[in-house]
Symmetry: C2
Subunit: 359 residues, 2 copies
């Protein structure tokens, strides 16, 4: 893993060159007495396509041009160039800024942002224009990613650390996860769960050793950093990924976004989606087979299940069957409902069965 440039250095070089190209293109336009303009792939719904081969959403080939020759676009193009310049500075100095900080920094730009929404959009424009991620540009979301427990050794700057020795709540995936190198790994798989309650249960029952796994606590909808981390584990370390969430449409979709990415982030799914990650439960079949304590589906659950059944990401036999079954029984169940059979049951019985592990 240590030949030539490190993972972090490669991404820095790539991003820096992309930013330089952006500026050089504008300078070239000026020198050739052309009106400077930028080609930006369209992020409109009409250009978001589910790629059957890749198994995640990608952008199609439509694009727009943003030109200084169009009065309406001058302000936005100015903001993009200022933002790109700000990012170049961040990348060079190996710093990051939150998108909120950038919003305030823009006060000095003359084309400052009026709202946070405006600055967020320009950040995404830059991602898609350059084919890089916001994180590589040094722009960070506020929130950290998931918690990880288990035998994975990481290098974070000059600090070597192991996710089995970072405390009971594990190692926290920072927004700068692509700055981290994977040094060593003593596990065979990754098991991601929706709640920190379940995470702590798995840690307490030594699931990391018994199943030879990393345990990931997603904390609900997975942050971009979490999705990126899971993809890196899957592609760089060849670890199979299993996801177990609450048995309801929201739990289904937390898994699906890890697997097939979101439509909104179609332009960065190549870095975020893990198409061979596997959802192992809680399914409608589990609710029946394990006779779990349930709650009735609410109207909004039913509506969401019907939406999912039409979503291109759910067009497999497995999903179609499970969605129909859940609508039929009209019930949902939480991960933690296995505690009906005792705190240890889920680790002693359910997970070994689902993972195909004989203890």
């Amino acid at each position: 893993m240590k030949k030539g440039l490190s993972h972090k250095e490669k991404r820095k070089e790539y991003t820096f060159n992309k930013l330089k190209e952006l500026g050089q293109g504008i300078v070239a336009d000026v020198e050739q007495k052309k009106v400077p303009s930028l080609k930006i792939p369209s992020r409109g719904t009409g250009n978001i396509v589910y790629d059957d081969a890749k198994k995640y959403y990608v952008l199609g080939d439509r694009y727009g041009r943003r030109s200084l020759g169009n009065v309406k676009q001058i302000r936005k193009m100015g903001q993009m160039v200022f933002t790109a310049n700000f990012c170049k500075d961040l990348v060079q100095r190996e710093k990051t800024a939150t998108i909120r900080e950038m919003y305030y920094v823009s006060e000095g730009w003359g084309v400052e942002f009026n709202t946070q929404q405006e600055s967020n959009t320009v950040g995404e424009d830059l991602e898609v224009a350059l084919g890089t991620t916001r994180e590589d540009l040094g722009l960070m979301p506020e929130e950290d990613g998931a918690s990880v427990y288990g035998d994975l050794t990481l290098l974070d700057d000059d600090v070597e650390l192991n996710a089995k020795k970072s405390g009971k709540s594990g190692y926290t995936i920072s927004p700068t996860i692509d700055q981290v190198e994977f040094l060593d790994c003593g596990v065979e798989r990754v098991l991601a769960v929706e709640t920190m309650g379940m995470f702590h249960r798995l840690v307490q029952e030594n699931a990391y050793d018994r199943f030879n796994t990393l345990v990931v606590g997603l904390k609900g909808q997975a942050a971009r950093a979490t999705r990126r981390f899971i993809k890196r584990l899957n592609t760089e370390l060849n670890l199979p990924v299993y996801i177990c969430n609450d048995g309801d449409p929201w739990g289904f979709h937390i898994a699906q976004v890890i697997i097939s990415g979101s439509a909104k982030l179609a332009h960065v799914n190549y870095d975020l989606a893990t198409p061979n990650a596997q959802f192992i439960g809680v399914t409608a079949s589990d609710i029946i087979n394990y006779d779990l304590p349930t709650d009735p589906l609410k109207d909004i659950d039913v509506l969401r299940l019907k939406e999912l059944s039409k979503d291109p990401r759910y067009q497999t036999d497995f999903w179609q069957t499970e969605i129909k079954k859940m609508l039929k029984i009209g019930k949902k169940a939480e991960q933690q409902s296995f505690s009906k059979y005792g705190l240890e049951y889920i680790v002693d019985t359910y997970f070994p069965h689902k993972l195909g592990i004989e203890e």
Copy 2:
């Protein structure tokens, strides 16, 4: 710190004995042919008192009796005894359960909980009846606490770790923070900030070394584990605690709950409140003195500020002045708004000034 029983062992012994006493009391009642009953300090608003000497809310001396002689109380008393028995088992086996897991476990009790609210209340009843904390009883909330970065060495079970070597997002305070021993500490103070955006800024600018401090990222309203951790740093390691939040009534109150505790948890504030922790900003004076970018106060902000001005916890000159000033200027400001002067300004200028540190 290592004489006799460890911090963790002492708390275990105390809690176990309290649980045993509860059972022995009931057995004694039965043996003496008395109707078993439990004395439970009242948690009603009439019994929550602000203690001027302690500087936090405590319970007064009113209490009620829960008796098996009262038909209405039989069910609740049964739940309390089952819960106490469940907790005794947890404490003995050094395990924990989430309050959600306990809710499901109760299915087998015959007096199962009908709602999560019901089981939460019984958990709090037990806290107040025994004079111990829910965490010591092995009952955990779902969420983890804050992130900590800096030179603090901890012992978590048999794992020794340092919060400066746990990754860029630091060490995560787990709900079981009283299971952790403080082994060594190379800092002089604690600096807690409201957002993870500011936490990452402080880490990135080496504030931990420059200010010889632990950096704590509160993630909004501080979890119980975070408040307990801060109190332990303050009382066990004698570290002064400084808090910096957004300059609005919500940021004020996040600080105040760390300092003076909440009314709702009056029965455990002895373990959670840090009365000599100090709020250093963002104040209304800061907004003026640093000419910060602001947002206008909304109606709900004004309402909240007026509430706070009457709250016993805000009856100091400092708070009365700052609340009045904020109402007068009609403006609020976020921590990150200092970025107007550049990303480093808050660390280079604001914090050294507030902490009285010359670099």
